[in-house]
């Protein structure tokens, strides 16, 4: 897949709760083909503290409006500066990067997408594509409390949504791994979120012999496989999360779980 470097224009910047915002980016020419799980490297011309590009998952691609959506949580100077973007501002992106979630096989119909925190971002686009292909995915979304649950109504368009919050302010109380939906049978699990959550879900999937894909968020410099900064340990040795991933089947990963 050809990688592109180019400027996109901010068409909307929607503040969401809990320091999140949704950035919609567009251009006049049609967007390239983009797969669920892929990400962008975004340049933020700013202060010395924001030197490298910033990595964001593609939250959704609106082909009708020719838009890429990024769901972003403000955690530092780069994301703070982005949150102040105005409609019409132009941003430089390298995209689409990385591999993608793989589509279920013909024998896999019961699909669970498990997201935590801002890690839910790539699962919306994945859910949309799965629904488009005739699957009925279920979503299990976790957060510390009700304020951490972002884009719920958007997920509901594509499947059933189950919720776990640590304080019980919405859905079931506890971690996603404590949720009663996991008593049902699933053929495939996709997950993205904090590392401990992904590890717990991988462990669960392994114990239940469920096929499982995780999307990793290792820190990146280049994003294109040149610097070897973003590696994760796999059974084939160190592999780059930016080119061999970000999506890995848990069978490939040499995780200490």
């Amino acid at each position: 897949m050809k990688k592109i470097i180019g400027d996109l224009v901010v068409s909307e910047n929607i503040p969401l709760k809990n320091n999140h915002f949704l950035l919609k980016l567009t251009q006049a020419e049609p967007l390239p083909h983009i797969l669920p799980g892929q990400f962008v490297q975004l340049k933020i011309d700013d202060t010395p503290s924001v030197f490298l590009r910033r990595t964001f998952s593609i939250n959704y691609v609106d082909r009708k409006k020719n838009e890429i959506w990024l769901l972003i949580q403000v955690v530092g100077d780069g994301t703070r500066s982005l949150s102040n973007c105005k409609i019409g501002d132009s941003l430089n992106l390298i995209y689409p990067l990385g591999n993608s979630f793989s589509m279920p096989t013909s024998s896999q119909s019961r699909l669970l997408l498990v997201g935590g925190g801002v890690g839910v971002a790539p699962l919306l686009f994945l859910g949309a594509i799965l629904a488009e292909k005739g699957f009925s995915p279920s979503f299990l979304l976790g957060a510390r409390n009700i304020d951490g649950l972002i884009e719920l109504e958007k997920f509901q368009q594509f499947g059933d949504v189950y919720i776990a919050t640590e304080d019980g302010s919405a859905g079931e109380i506890g971690f996603v791994t404590d949720h009663s939906i996991l008593k049902n049978s699933f053929d495939k699990i996709y997950t993205c979120g904090p590392t401990p959550m992904m590890q717990a879900i991988s462990q669960f999937a392994e114990n239940q012999f469920i096929d499982c894909e995780v999307s990793l968020e290792n820190k990146m410099a280049c994003g294109i496989g040149a610097c070897l900064c973003c590696v994760t340990q796999t059974h084939q040795g160190n592999q780059c999360v930016c080119t061999d991933g970000p999506v890995f089947n848990t069978k490939e990963l040499a995780w200490q779980i």
């Binding site: 050809k2 470097i5 010395p48 503290s49 410099a221 280049c222 040149a226 610097c227 070897l228």
Partner: protein
Amino acid sequence: MANLTTKIGDLTLKNPVITASGTFGYGEEYLDFLDINQLGGICVKGTTLHRREGNPYPRMAETPSGMLNAVGLQNKGVDYFINTIYPRLTVFETAFIVNVSGSTLEDYIETAEKINSLSFIPAIELNISCPNVKQGGMAFGVDKDMAAEVVKEVRKVYHKTLIVKLSPNVTDIVSIAEAVEHVGADAVSLINTLLGMAIDAETQKPLLSTITGGLSGPCVKPIALRMVWQVAHAVKIPVVGMGGISNARDAIEFFLAGATAIEVGTANFIDPAVSLQVIQGVNDYLQRHHCESINDIIGALKTV
């Protein structure tokens, strides 16, 4: 168009802009972004005798106007390079320079000897910033005698252009440059990364798995420029300058300080096609200053 050709030993480059080792892969990673045939040269990833897995994650930490890395020379070894990567590179029209790294004297010699047989590789860049496992992990390049010994031995087996890449983590870089010139280096390149460190105050942990790592990017440029200037005054062989070069203006400063060619490193991560902008910008500068050739500005710093 000004004349941008420049010579390093027997190697003639069509222009003086090379991409730095470890920041440009094998060039292939960048094909979607630029025509790599337009580059003066490409220094490929650090290559060692045997496959190396490198250091554990995290290997990178961003710092003000720069970054620390602790990749640890991850590569599949020289034989893999020769058998799998090299044949793919021979279709390109740029100078591929192999960055040779090692942990023992014997490693360097054997790797250089293997590369010597590759007709399409006109030069090596000997990375002497690597720890010598037989000397308690002290880098070859921080000791004059150790640096001279490895260059002298590699010189015996390597018959094309031998560029020695110097470590800046020394008290007197000039004495190291002179020592390697004396034993047959055709050129020196500098600077490699500066040893640095970053800490996460909240977790009270280091940000790199190795605790310390190599600093690069615009934050190192003043140090790099100073070292290039000092070395260029002391040696007769060409100096390849690098450290924080992000645009043509930065590159011009290195030429004025005495560099015959320059390398662009970390800046590739932010703008994959930056090297072509540097080439264009250098040409524009030469025309604006009515210079016919890049040689007119090499070492042309006005100090009085």
